[in-house]
């Protein structure tokens, strides 16, 4: 029986219709494509009247298949599937042709665009004819959530879910939760003490009955999908037994080593080989750093073990691999600071009194290495003049093109702290002052009033090559003051570099583990930049805080809470329906060679020893198609991506289209195309 296909071409206002002759595409589809009984164009197909039109046509014309040529299926495939379902048509008997992102947004050639649109519509029509009705698969949602990253965004997300009564695993790779916020002294623009507002949240998370805290631990592996992820976590050996340690700190006190602390103290301070990173750490259990420990490097010492009153030091402890099942994952892995040595003209690492922003944060902190005193690298001299350089590694296509967003405000905060704690003058060297959140511009005004000096210009270099008596022995900031158009050399004693916020070194690896994507800079990509900022393209994986892009504390907290709300919504539904796009093995054809078993990236294929055949575990399969392509016996088929469907789609793109369309699509004339590839 012939199918009855409806084709709907969307104008998307002028987004599509401005380039593609949509009326012509609809007319052509109606007149030329086999089985097409209705072909229409419409201003906004996704509007309720557009959807209603499709629903009515399905009923009135007894349509058996529907094609919509519009935007990306990522945006509206669900919308139109729902319309089909409402009209009694199986939603998988629908296909979408993307003529916006793939055509009208990427060309200005109207004629070629129209021809290519015809080609894609023809492909969709041929494909949809072979679609088979499918039913989505139900999956129970495990109420436990994994939150990766124990900075403020992760803590917020964990607490929201835990308070709602759901179990949470809060994973942190450092020995304590708290993240960067724990390193800060003050927070802008209100100048409240960072520790004072953060530590109550940290201890709440540490003591919450619904939160399992795993610090000094990292995510190793993820499998499964929304509702039932399986995660493997490496809990690194602390060499301290958590069940015995009381956090008394005697081991730390007695440890005879001193190690530069490049993490919490940003290289400005020291710690011991066995250490608790800071006083309010959660948990208050030390870790032993084997790289510097005398016992581990030279085989003798064990002073910490001798002094421990509860016998908690365990030199034989090993890493543990823990496995959990969780329903959802929230990534809140934060950021790292730009390596300022990459800009040699600013002298970091070569000129001692050039500091990074994180070093300065620690210096200002009363619990930090200088006890909160702002002093030069010698540890005692107070600077007479301080320069703060903005945009170090940000807004610079040689390093990071983006604006890090928070540095202007942090620079103002530093300016305030210098003015408050010392007698020094402070200069800010900025390109554009960006203070666009609540209370931020007012803070800028406050600093103008407090006498911070502002020079508009990107600093060219910081040098110790003096040219005058005044410059001798000091650092000279050379800059064009762009407001006067003059080159200036300003002698200072201390320079603070406002380094860019960058994605964590291993962000791409983590993205691969959980199956989400990253922007070219390495920030995790959200499902929609405006309307779905905490979800990702992978169901059940959410992002919060700076791992999604640079942001300030209020925004990180808001995202943490938002991600938790999304997860809570899924948990309360108990069951989610997932796409039936999975592989299945025809056991009569399977030779039991097991090639597919090892190739499957999701461990979703098991081998039945007795029957000698492989089977797909539907709940774990993500429909990637690797096994289908690899099977030497062609025993594996993929729902909705069957060979006949894909070949039909290609044929539609190639055979039904005009020579002009082929030229537009492939940039080659018909006779130059090697079309024989289809004769498989």
């Amino acid at each position: 029986m012939a199918e009855r296909i409806g084709v709907y071409v969307c104008h998307c206002g002028s987004n599509i219709a401005g380039i593609i002759d949509v009326e012509e595409v609809a007319r052509w589809a109606g007149g030329n494509l086999q089985d097409v009984v209705v072909a229409k164009d419409y201003k906004f197909m996704c509007s309720s009247s557009g959807q209603q039109m499709i629903e009515e046509d399905i009923k009135n014309h007894q349509l058996t298949r529907v094609v919509v040529a519009a935007c990306s299926p990522q945006l509206h495939e669900r919308t139109f599937r729902r319309a089909c379902k409402n009209a009694g048509l199986n939603p998988y008997l629908f296909q979408m042709a993307n003529i916006r992102e793939h055509i009208s947004w990427v060309t200005t050639d109207k004629k070629a665009a129209t021809e290519k649109a015809k080609s894609l519509v023809a492909a969709a029509v041929r494909r949809v004819r072979l679609h088979r009705p499918l039913e989505p698969l139900p999956v129970e949602v495990n109420p436990r959530t994994l939150v990766v990253g124990g900075g403020i965004a992760g803590i917020q997300a964990a607490l929201e879910l835990a308070d709602a009564g759901y179990p949470v695993i809060l994973l942190e790779r450092e020995p304590s939760i708290g993240g960067h916020m724990a390193q800060f002294d003050k927070t802008f623009p209100t100048l409240d003490c960072s520790a004072c507002i953060l530590t109550p949240r940290m201890s709440e998370a540490g003591q919450h009955p619904n939160i399992t805290l795993l610090t000094y631990s990292e995510l190793e592996e993820v499998s499964g999908s929304v509702g039932h992820f399986k995660v493997k976590i490496r809990k690194r050996a602390r060499y301290v037994r958590e069940d015995r340690c009381t956090g008394c700190g005697i081991c730390v006190e007695k440890c005879p080593t001193k190690v530069r602390d490049d993490v919490f103290e940003a290289g400005l301070g020291v710690r011991k080989s066995i250490y608790i990173p800071f006083a309010q750490a959660v948990p208050r259990i030390p870790v032993l750093d084997t790289e510097h420990c005398i016992y581990f490097t030279r085989g003798k010492c064990q002073i910490c073990g001798k002094f421990c009153p509860t016998d908690a030091i365990d030199y034989d402890q090993k890493d543990q691999i823990l496995e959990y099942e969780v329903g959802n994952i929230i990534l809140a892995t934060g950021w790292k600071m730009f390596d300022c040595t990459r800009i040699p003209q600013y002298g970091y690492g070569r000129l001692p009194n050039v500091f990074t922003a994180m070093e300065f944060e620690r210096m200002c902190n009363a619990a930090g290495p200088t006890g909160g005193k702002i002093v030069l690298r010698d540890g005692k001299t107070e600077p007479r003049r301080v320069a703060i350089i903005h945009c170090v590694g940000s807004r610079d296509v040689n390093y990071n093109e983006y604006c890090s967003g928070i540095c202007c405000m942090a620079a103002l905060k530093y300016g305030h702290l210098v003015l408050e704690k010392t007698n020094a003058e402070v200069y800010s060297f900025y390109i554009d002052m960006r203070t666009n959140q609540k209370g931020y511009e007012e803070f800028y005004q406050r600093l103008l009033e407090e006498g911070m000096k502002f020079i508009r210009g990107k600093v060219a270099e910081v040098t110790n090559a003096d040219r005058s008596e005044e410059e001798k022995g000091r650092l000279v900031v050379q800059v064009e003051d762009t407001l006067t158009g003059r080159q200036r050399r300003i002698p200072v004693d201390m320079v603070i570099l406002m380094g860019a916020l960058e994605p964590q070194e291993d962000a791409m690896d983590l993205a691969r583990k959980v199956g989400i994507s990253c922007s070219s800079a390495g920030w995790f990509t959200e499902r929609h930049p405006k309307l779905d900022p905490v979800a990702t393209m992978t169901d059940g994986v959410f992002v919060a805080g700076c791992c999604q892009g640079p942001k300030d504390i209020p925004a990180s907290v808001a995202q943490g809470a938002a991600a938790a709300a999304r997860v809570a919504g899924l948990i309360s539904r108990r069951t989610v329906w997932i796409e039936p796009v999975v592989a299945s093995i025809d056991e009569s054809k399977c030779s039991g060679c097991r090639i597919c078993n090892n190739l499957c990236p999701f461990n979703a294929i098991e081998y039945d020893e007795q029957e000698g055949v492989s089977r797909v575990i539907t709940a774990l399969c993500k429909g990637c198609g690797t096994c289908i392509a690899a099977c030497p016996a062609k025993a594996i088929a993929g729902n909705h991506f069957a060979d006949d469907q894909i070949l039909a789609e290609l044929e539609g793109a190639l055979w039904d289209a005009s020579p002009e369309a082929l030229l537009a699509t492939f940039g080659k004339k018909e006779e130059q195309l090697e079309l024989k590839v289809l004769n498989v």
Binding site: I343, P344, Q345, R350, E461, T463, A465, R467
Partner: protein, 299 residues
């Protein structure tokens, strides 16, 4: 190791010391330099200031004349190096420009295929191709006690970023440490020597030169080492001009890096062009590395 060699105009006379010491050092290291047959001037910075296409064609003639069996062209002068490299680069990334340049070359019966020749500065060859092992092996008179300030200038390390760090280059520092000279760090090692400013605007030129000399002197340098005839000439020949202009008392010998390498390799002074520098280098060498100097004088 065989390379095509583009000496550049200065090596013919004003920087004969560079030419001699390059020849002596390369002979010892087994580097064969085949001079490009009938090469012409690279046009320095001057030709581009008036004519873009002609400048490119004049430079490209040299690239076209490189012996077809050789793929690397070595230039010892910063300006020549950059001009040759830039013309090749611009022809490579812009085919329309390349065909324009080639249309001009065709009038002389020549053609240059962009990318055929890789243009390199001599310091890259010694640092990367000969390498640490190859250099250390030849050292007969380690220059312990001689404080050298390696000077890179501009056009070897900028604008192209593939030669060395553009802000704080290290290759010559490393080369000198391999012959055990004491390398002094100083902040202006990649700053400008003034280029042609000595000709057209001496006030500016003297100021630029003063900054370099001051910075090297503050660092305690016995000698400044250059890798470019123009840098050497400006720092050396105009040093007394700087002194009378500012009332300073600089007396820092300016040598080519190959002269100092040759000294460490135990080559005879007369093969290395010593004595052509205007601020005499021999007295300080006698004081700091007497053994090396004695050996070189005897040879």
């Amino acid at each position: 190791m065989k390379y095509a060699f583009y000496p550049g105009c200065s090596l013919e006379c004003s920087s004969a010391a560079y030419a001699q010491s390059i020849a002596a050092v390369c002979r010892l290291l087994g580097i064969e330099l085949a001079e490009v047959e009938d090469w012409n001037c690279c046009g320095a910075t001057e030709y581009h200031s008036l004519h873009r296409l002609t400048a490119a064609a004049v430079i490209a003639r040299n690239l076209a004349l490189v012996d077809g069996s050789l793929t690397e062209l070595v230039a010892p002068c910063a300006a020549c190096f950059l001009n040759l490299k830039k013309v090749d680069h611009q022809m490579s990334e812009d085919p329309a420009w390349a065909s324009k340049v080639n249309a001009a070359l065709a009038a002389g019966g020549l053609m240059y295929e962009p990318g055929r020749v890789k243009v390199r500065h001599l310091v890259e060859v010694l640092h990367s191709d000969v390498g640490e092992e190859g250099i250390r092996r030849r050292v007969k008179q380690p220059l312990r006690g001689l404080k050298v300030a390696p000077y890179y200038g501009c056009q070897i390390v900028r604008p192209y970023k593939d030669v060395d760090n553009t802000e704080y280059p290290m290759k010559l520092d490393e080369l000198m440490s391999w012959v055990e000279a004491e390398v002094v760090p100083y902040p202006t090692k990649a700053a400008c020597c003034g280029g042609h400013m000595t000709q057209i605007s001496e006030a500016q030129a003297y100021e630029l030169l003063r900054r370099l000399l001051q910075s090297a002197e503050d660092a305690g340098a016995d000698v400044i080492l250059t890798m470019c005839p123009m840098c050497q000439l400006n720092l050396d020949a105009y040093q007394s001009g700087v002194n009378s202009y500012f009332g300073t008392k600089f007396r820092i010998p300016i040598l080519f890096f190959t002269q100092v390498l040759g000294l460490a390799f135990g080559l005879p002074l007369k093969q290395l062009g010593f004595g052509k520098e205007i601020v005499a280098a021999i007295p300080i060498l006698k004081q700091k590395v007497p053994a090396a100097l004695a050996a070189a004088s005897a040879g």
